[in-house]
């Protein structure tokens, strides 16, 4: 496909997404907004988990920090408007990520994963008990905002911004350095890469995205409680979305978020009591047949100028990853 056609396709899709609110019910719009917010989180996770190869399991902590910072600034005595409050949440998250990242990014593999998980759990409980600030487990209520389009367009803008940033990242020295760290940390260090610095930057980036998603969700949901906004499900969802789409690719997280969100919404409304079973089954099949995600298959094929996708690729995937 020529570059021009590509650009045209992008423009068309963008136009479609921009006019979308005119044509769908406000609940559908909500579903799309959810997808965009999940995409945003997945884009963030992609920096640390996809490009840098650090399986962060506590990104929901930044989602929560973003939500609470945004919320508390908006309802406290300052009555800060939404966007500055959102920015403050993102900033605070980045700061926390940097401070936490310095020690815990020295850990590797599962150890890093459990450390981040532990941090998220601990923060959740702090929010749960810090009555004077967060009103504890009771939670806080943000001002009412009824226009669904507002959330949709904000999320859309952030996701597009995220795409641009990811694209630039993947071509920058920063991105290259992060990938080197993912592939071999010792080698990366010997190549002159300040691994600590790079990892912390990637981690902070992921925190910023999670915080933006958190702040936006808080404003949309109005009622913010530690139980809801520090729930490990959010972390799992962003990881699933990224893996399904393809970790360490520009489009993967967005694509994965679309597939996951739409599938689970569909399953949810169709199977009242068995929807987790169906969703579980879908995830299992996805992993068995596409263990490296959609984008990685598509991208590799594209490089070689082959047809994008054949059913036989699924079986080949199984053959390549099984043990007998």
């Amino acid at each position: 496909m020529k570059r021009g056609t590509q650009v045209a396709a992008f423009a068309l899709l963008l136009a479609l997404l921009v006019v979308l609110p005119r044509f769908v019910s406000s609940y559908k719009l909500l579903t799309y907004t959810r997808f965009l917010i999940l995409a945003l989180m997945a884009q963030g996770w992609n920096f640390i988990g996809g490009y840098t190869g650090y399986a962060a399991f506590g990104n929901v902590a930044y989602f929560g920090i973003g939500a609470y910072t945004t919320g508390l600034l908006m309802i406290g005595k300052w009555h800060v408007p939404f966007f500055p409050a959102l920015a403050a949440g993102a900033l605070l998250s980045a700061l926390v990520a940097i401070l936490l990242g310095l020690p815990i990014l020295r850990l590797k593999g599962h150890y890093f994963a459990i450390a981040t998980l532990g941090v998220a759990e601990a923060l959740s409980q702090v929010a749960d008990t810090w009555d004077s600030v967060t009103d504890g487990s009771t939670g806080i209520d943000l001002p009412l905002k009824t226009e669904g389009e507002f959330f949709y367009y904000t999320a859309l803008a952030l996701v597009i911004g995220g795409l641009a940033l990811t694209w630039a990242f993947s071509r920058s020295k920063l991105g290259n350095g992060c990938v080197a760290i993912r592939e071999d940390q010792d080698a990366a260090r010997m190549l002159g890469i300040n691994t600590t610095f790079f990892k912390v930057i990637a981690y902070a980036l992921s925190a910023v995205f999670a915080a933006l998603a958190g702040g936006l969700t808080a404003y949309q949901n109005i009622h913010v409680t530690p139980g809801d906004f520090f729930r490990i499900d959010y972390t799992l969802q962003m990881i699933i979305a990224t893996i399904i789409g393809g970790a360490g690719t520009v489009l993967g997280p967005v694509l994965g978020a679309a597939v996951y969100q739409l599938l689970s919404t569909y399953v949810w409304s169709k199977f009242l009591e068995l929807h987790p079973t169906v969703l579980g089954l879908i995830i299992v099949l996805f992993i068995v047949f596409l263990p490296r995600g959609l984008m990685t298959v598509l991208a590799r094929k594209r490089q070689r100028g082959e047809r994008p996708f054949r059913m036989s690729d699924l079986l080949a995937n199984v053959r390549a990853h099984r043990v007998t």
Binding site: N176, G177, V179, D184, A187
Partner: protein
């Protein structure tokens, strides 16, 4: 004689690196024990020593990957003892890793560009400029054609080149090369030597760790010998190899004898004069490979390979790196499924057999790199060798046999295999193979990464095993060593058998001498 360019003797300059009292302890064990070393600007410093002598650990300390327990390092007049490794890289030091560390999912070009981005001159370069720079380096090391491949698709030979290319792209003043020639055949070694010399001529100081004596003798200005973490000799290469201490610790009597007899390090031993293998017995055909094709995924490596091994023979399989020797062994063991052709063993077709059936039939594979179970004890590793056997009463007897063949293993029986030295590990791997009561033993790269002294004793062991009745198919990159200890040989090139004959014939064959022995 060798067509090697005679090394240009450089005038030693001031010191580029001064290491004083470098000690590195892991737990209670000193891997490097108080080494003083000066590297002079512009020289090629060769470093030899047995496995476990602390060579790699020393390089780790110099490049900041390990922080020395004691000692100071001064690079270009600057104390870098506590400097983090990435900054050391930017100051102008680069290294390769003995166990290659490619950025696996990246293309060759991206790998090298990463070095160009963050190395000594990385600051001023954009990502795009770095990629351009990478192309030039790839041209220089002969990897240009591979630039679009991901590192996972490269052969070990190309991965070694990639190591070098990444390091070069960092524009270093001082370059540490850790066994970049391991596994190369003679002609490849010569090319590598030329490349190293040309790098040196372009102004890069080199610190070269190498087991390939011919190469190290050919390029080094000075030679350092490490043993048990200490420096036991330093000086002119010629003097060093004659030093009794070095011979005892590292080279071994036979090597010394060889070189003295020939009067020249580079001279091979006359073919046929020191053959260790007894005359070939005229046994029945034990292994018969016909028209075998094999490979990984979509990449075909072997095309139409046919060979046979007779009962009680030692057969050497030689060939360049990447020719498909290891692939052939893996396919015989059925760890790789053949794409075509057949493998028969003792009259039985094992082409479609499962790996455990192949082992059960008596074909036992001692893989490249030993592949011991590092967390099991030596005894447990040997026990794992009897996994398929049901004759409990004879297992004890086999332990006796293995321990009498390899007394070192008896001493170390309770130790974790991961803690053994390289030579002991190879012994353990062979011992594990023997415990399976093989009729045919497939041995992949017996000498890889081992000191000459150790290799000699292992070869004696193979001869001994064969004398006791075990048939051996030996894959070995050191063609001379292999043929000296075999009855017959096959030559594999780019996935095809191109030549076969008795060991003596092959050693005499001018083509072999030129291609693999560099004569």
């Amino acid at each position: 004689m060798s067509a090697l360019p005679s090394p240009v003797r450089r005038i030693p300059g001031d010191s580029i690196l001064e290491a004083r009292g470098i000690t590195k302890r892991f737990g209670g064990l000193a891997a490097v024990d108080g080494i003083d070393l000066t590297i002079r600007r512009g020289e090629i410093l060769g470093v030899i020593g047995p496995n476990g002598a602390g060579k790699t650990t020393f390089v780790n300390c110099m490049t900041g990957l390990d922080k020395p327990t004691a000692g100071t390092i001064v690079f270009n007049g600057q104390d870098i003892t506590k400097t983090p490794s990435y900054r050391i890289g930017r100051l102008g030091m680069a290294r390769t890793f003995q166990v290659v560390k490619p950025l696996r999912q990246l293309t060759v070009r991206e790998n090298v560009a990463t070095g160009a981005m963050f190395g000594a001159r990385g600051k001023g370069r954009s990502a795009a400029q770095a990629r351009h720079e990478a192309d030039e380096v790839l041209e220089r090391v002969g990897l240009a054609e591979m630039r679009g491949r991901t590192a996972t698709e490269l052969t070990i030979l190309d991965l070694k080149r990639l190591e070098l290319a990444k390091a070069l792209a960092m524009d270093p003043q001082l370059l540490f090369l850790d066994e970049v020639m391991a596994g190369l055949n003679q002609s490849e070694i010569e090319k590598a030597m030329e490349l190293i010399l040309s790098i040196n001529r372009s102004g890069v100081t080199l610190f070269v760790i190498e087991h390939v004596m011919k190469a190290i003798m050919g390029i080094s200005d000075r030679l350092v010998v490490l043993h048990y973490g200490r420096k036991i000799a330093e000086g002119n290469p010629k003097d060093i190899v004659e030093s009794p201490a070095v011979i005892e610790a590292y080279l071994g009597e036979r090597y010394a004898h060889r070189t003295q007899a020939a009067g020249d390090v580079n001279a091979p031993i006359e073919p046929g004069t020191s053959l260790k293998a007894p005359p070939a017995p005229a046994g029945d055909t034990l292994l018969e490979v016909k028209g075998l094709a094999s490979g990984y995924g979509e990449v075909q490596i072997l095309r139409d390979v046919s060979l046979e091994v007779k009962d009680r023979e030692v057969v050497a399989l030689i060939g360049a790196n990447g020719a498909g020797k290891t692939t052939l062994l893996w396919t015989i063991s059925q760890l790789l499924k053949p794409m075509g052709g057949s493998v028969r063993f003792a009259g039985r077709d094992i082409t479609a057999a499962r790996p455990e059936e192949v082992v059960g039939a008596g074909v036992v594979h001692v893989p490249q790199g030993r592949r011991l179970f590092a967390g099991l004890t030596v005894k447990e590793n040997l026990m794992q060798g009897v996994y398929l056997r049901r004759d409990a009463e004879r297992i004890e007897q086999d332990f006796e046999r293995v321990f009498s063949l390899l007394p070192r293993l008896k001493e170390r029986a309770g130790q974790l295999a991961g803690r053994l030295s390289g030579g002991e590990q190879q012994m353990c791997a062979i011992g594990r193979g023997l415990m399976s009561r093989p009729r045919l033993l497939l041995i992949d790269e017996l000498s890889l990464g081992l000191a000459p002294l150790v290799v000699d004793s292992l070869l004696d062991l193979i001869t001994e095993i064969n004398r006791e009745g075990t048939t051996v198919l030996l894959v070995e990159q050191d063609v001379q060593v292999a043929l000296e200890h075999a009855h017959r040989g096959y030559v594999l090139e780019t996935g095809r058998i191109v030549q076969t004959g008795s060991a003596a014939e092959l050693l005499d064959d001018p083509r072999i001498r030129q291609a693999y022995l560099g004569l």
